[in-house]
Each structure stands twice: as C-alpha cells, then as structure tokens.
C-alpha cells in the first residue's frame, strides 16, 4: 500500500522542470499564484495567458493533460460553492439558458473558479515534478519555520506506519465479528480512533527518544546539499515572470 498510494501526485521524470531545485519551484509557484490572485477578474486575456503558461510548463515536464485533470478533483468543493453563487447572489439579474442569474454572482463565481483552477493546476504541476521529500527540503531552504517542516517530514515518514496500524485495528475488529454498517456503530469506530491517536502519540514519544539518543538538540541537520545556481533561479523565474508580463501588458491595454 505504500508506493502507489502516497506518491500518486508525483510523476517521476527527468525533464528540465523535474531537475530544478525544489526551493526554486516552490518560490516560482508561490509568485505565480500571487500574480494570478492579484489579477482583476475582468482581464480575461491575462487568465488565458496564465493557462497557456501552465500548459507550457506541463509540456516541458512531459505531464499529460489527463494526469493533471484527474487530480484537479480536489477543487470540486470550490466548484460547487462557485456554481451556487450566481443562484443565491443579489443585484442585477440576467437570463442565461432560461435561468435568471445574479450578475455580481456570476462575476464572483468566475473569479473563484478561474483563480482556484490556475492555483490548483500550478500546485499539481509542482507536486508532479517534485518528490515530497525534496519539497520539504526546499521549504527548509526557503527558511520556512523549521518546526513546521519537521512536522511535515514526520507525517511523510509515518503516514504508512499509522495507516498500517489503522488497518490492523480494523482487521482485529472485523475478526471479532464487528463491521461498521450504520451510525450506531460510530462509538466503536470513535474509540478505535482514540486508541490510534494514543498509539501514534506514544510512537511519537519513542521516536523522540531515538532522536535524543542520536544527539538531536532541536534542529534537523541539513545533510542534502540543495544549492541552486543563478541560472536555475532564472529558469524558475520564467513562469511568474511571464505571468507578470501578461498582467502588466493587460494593464497597458486596459
């Protein structure tokens, strides 16, 4: 259950995008997202340019469109919310396919959909071309709070271990004739979840002991050398740079 499940976001490869140091990619995606969010919703051409830029990155990284589209499913809750707005919005109404929709509502929905879609697509491309572990090392390089990075690192390492424990507990329950079928079984499942929490907490304590035993003093030693060259930063800057050019160009026309 380990590999297939956990790395489903990552698509190994050896392209220019894959090879970029993770800190460059993280910074590039963040800057790109900020540019997208800062774009006024009426500037359709700019959004089109952003989408083309992402398509270009996907092409360079040899990520097929289907791979990205399937993983866009995380966005569905936002889509549902966005679709609801024109119906519940107030203000001026306009007839669309026989429905009377709110004009400000439509604008708001478009705004959410366009920006969220671009952001999610950029994140998926980042995740597809960067190993989870390297992403954390990149975050460490960018001086994100070390405690947060460490927590994420342990999550990455112990996800399988905790999931395995959870599976064993479920097997143990079912071996004794219990199967959760309806709401009345919730207390049993809840107690299992509590037990799992305590087991994981105790494992955390043991891991901490093991870390102390090897001289841990509160910070993770940086072992992997992830230095990025100026050229690599420049390559990574192309995405947000081009996005910014599109934004400013649109401004010039507006």
């Amino acid at each position: 259950m380990s590999a297939g499940h956990r790395h489903r976001l990552h698509r190994p490869g050896d392209t220019l995008v894959h090879r970029l140091p993770p800190q460059c990619k993280l910074a590039a995606v963040t800057a790109f997202a900020l540019t997208v969010v800062a774009t006024p919703r009426e500037w359709f051409a700019a959004f089109g340019a952003y989408a083309l830029l992402l398509a270009g990155v996907a092409l360079a990284a040899r990520i097929p469109p289907g791979f990205v589209l399937r993983r866009m499913a995380v966005e569905i809750p936002f889509v549902l919310f966005a679709v609801a707005i024109p119906f519940i919005g107030t203000g001026e109404r306009v007839a669309v396919a026989g429905l009377w929709l709110s004009v400000p509502g439509l604008w708001a929905a478009w705004n959410i959909l366009a920006k969220a879609t671009l952001g999610v697509a950029a994140s998926i491309l980042l995740a597809a071309t960067t190993e989870p572990r390297l992403m954390l090392l990149g975050a460490q390089r960018l001086r994100l709070p070390p405690l947060l990075v460490q927590i994420a690192m342990f999550m990455l390492r112990y996800l399988d271990v905790v999931a395995g424990e959870m599976r064993r507990m479920r097997v143990a329950r079912e071996s004794r004739g219990f199967a959760a079928r309806d709401l009345r079984h919730l207390p049993v499942v809840a107690r299992s979840a509590g037990a799992l929490f305590i087991r994981s907490y105790e494992r955390g304590e043991r891991v901490h002991l093991a870390m102390l035993s090897r001289g841990y003093t509160g910070s993770m030693p940086v072992v992997v050398d992830l230095a990025a060259s100026a050229r690599q930063w420049l390559v990574a800057a192309m995405l947000p740079g081009a996005a910014l050019v599109a934004l400013l160009g649109n401004w010039g026309m507006a």
């Binding site: 380990s2 043991r206 002991l209 870390m211 090897r214 001289g215 841990y216 072992v223």
Partner: protein, 253 residues
C-alpha cells in the same frame, strides 16, 4: 558481582554502572541498585523477564533517564547534563522497533542524522554513512525510504544509524525480536563482525548463548546473576527463579 573500578587497575571499562536506582515519577521503583561493568570489546547479554527493568536500565545508559541514585560512566565519562552529547555519541542505542529508530525519509539521511548532529559535514559525513551501511551489508539500500525495506533490513539499518556515530558501546534492545530465522542469523553474523563493545538486552536465551560469552540477569531491579552465559543457562533453578526459560527442546551442554 563486579565492584566499582579501583584506582590503579589500569583499563577503563566501556560501561560502568554502580548502585543505580530509579523510581518512575509515579513512584514505581524500577531499579534497586544495579552494579555492572562491561569491559572494552566484550559482548554481554542482559537477560531478564518482561518488567524486570531492562528498558529502564538501557535508557539510563545514554542519559535519557537520569539516575535517582548511583552513577553511570561510559569509557570513564560519567553521564551528566553537561556531557550528554558526548555520552550519546559513545552509547549507540538500537531500539526494539526499527520504525521508531528510522525517522528520516531515506536511509542515507537517517544514518547521517547522528553524525550530522555531532557536527560532521560533507565528504567525511558521506564516508561515515557509507562505511556504517557497508558494515551491516545495506549499502545498496542507501537511497531507499526506510518503510520500503523488510523488517530485518530495517533492523540492520537501525544498527548502522548508531554505528555511524562510532560508538564506544552498542546497546541493543531485543535485537532478535520479530526476526525470521534467516534475518536473525544475518544479524548475528553482523554483530559478531563488529569491532565494538556490545550490551544486548534480551530474553532470547539461545541468541544470548550464540553471541555473548558473558551474561547478566536483571530481575526485580537488581543484577541477580553474572557469569559465563553457558553456565547461567545450564542452571535450571536459577533460570526458573527469574522467569527465564529455554525454548522447548533446547539444552545447554
């Protein structure tokens, strides 16, 4: 019983514990005055039933628990607040569950964790990592994530993580637990090949006999017996008195 080191007897013991007593914060007394001495290069088994205080004793050896009474010294250096980092370098603790011990995303980073905390970097660090993995025959797994290894392989990597710190003494908590016979034999071969003092905590008596000349029995929070493993295991009465049993069909000639 091994007495504390007399001045002038020359050699410094790898490990010297004297009159060590400890009570848990809730008041449960776990150790009632433990005395033991392990000479450099020895392989010693610490035997005892569940709940005898074995793990509690082990956690004192590198200063995770601090003695309520008595002292622990590693190669002459007493365990104290200001010597903790050096003590933890000298005592390589291998925990029972390798998933507790291997917490980094790859084997390489995990083995590097200890020496990196000692301030070693660059080429020397890589060399240490590779040497340690070589010693346990796991060099080819260097870039794999620990959770993709088999249990026996993970235990071997766990040994490598402490070997990389070049310890004075290797302390193993139940090294044979959960291993299949082949992994068990492989681990024994590795432990025999290492040029390091070993203290092995176990209730796997045949494994103790296979690897250690000398054994200690920890029972009721004190060292109840200390002698050649073969003699201790041949003494059925002694074993029975401390809830230790040889496996069915196993006899010590």
């Amino acid at each position: 019983m091994t007495a504390s080191r007399r001045p002038g007897d020359g050699a410094v013991a790898s490990l010297e514990v004297s009159r060590l007593a400890y009570a848990y914060p809730d008041g449960t007394q776990a150790l009632f005055g433990v005395d033991l001495r392990v000479e450099r290069g020895e392989r010693v088994a610490l035997l005892g039933p569940n709940g005898a205080g074995k793990t509690t004793l082990v956690l004192h050896l590198n200063g995770i628990l601090t003695a309520g009474h008595g002292t622990v010294a590693v190669a002459g250096l007493p365990v104290a607040k200001d010597s903790l980092l050096e003590i933890r370098r000298r005592v390589g603790l291998v925990f029972q569950d390798p998933d507790d011990q291997l917490f980094m995303p790859t084997v390489r980073e995990d083995v590097a964790f200890g020496p990196a905390n000692l301030g070693i970097r660059g080429e020397e660090l890589q060399q240490r990592v590779e040497d340690a993995l070589e010693q346990v025959g796991m060099l080819e797994a260097i870039d794999r994530p620990p959770h993709h290894l088999s249990f026996g392989q993970r235990r071997r990597v766990a040994v490598a993580t402490v070997l990389a710190m070049e310890p004075e003494i290797l302390v193993l908590d139940e090294p044979s637990s959960n291993l299949d016979p082949a992994s068990r034999r492989e681990l024994a071969e590795i432990l025999r090949s290492l040029d390091v003092t070993v203290l092995m905590v176990t209730h796997d008596l045949p494994y103790a006999l296979e690897l250690c000349e000398r054994s200690l029995i920890l029972s009721g929070g004190v060292i109840a017996a200390d002698g050649p493993t073969r003699e201790l295991l041949a003494d059925a009465e002694l074993l029975a008195a401390h809830r230790l049993e040889l496996p069915y069909g196993f006899t010590v000639a």
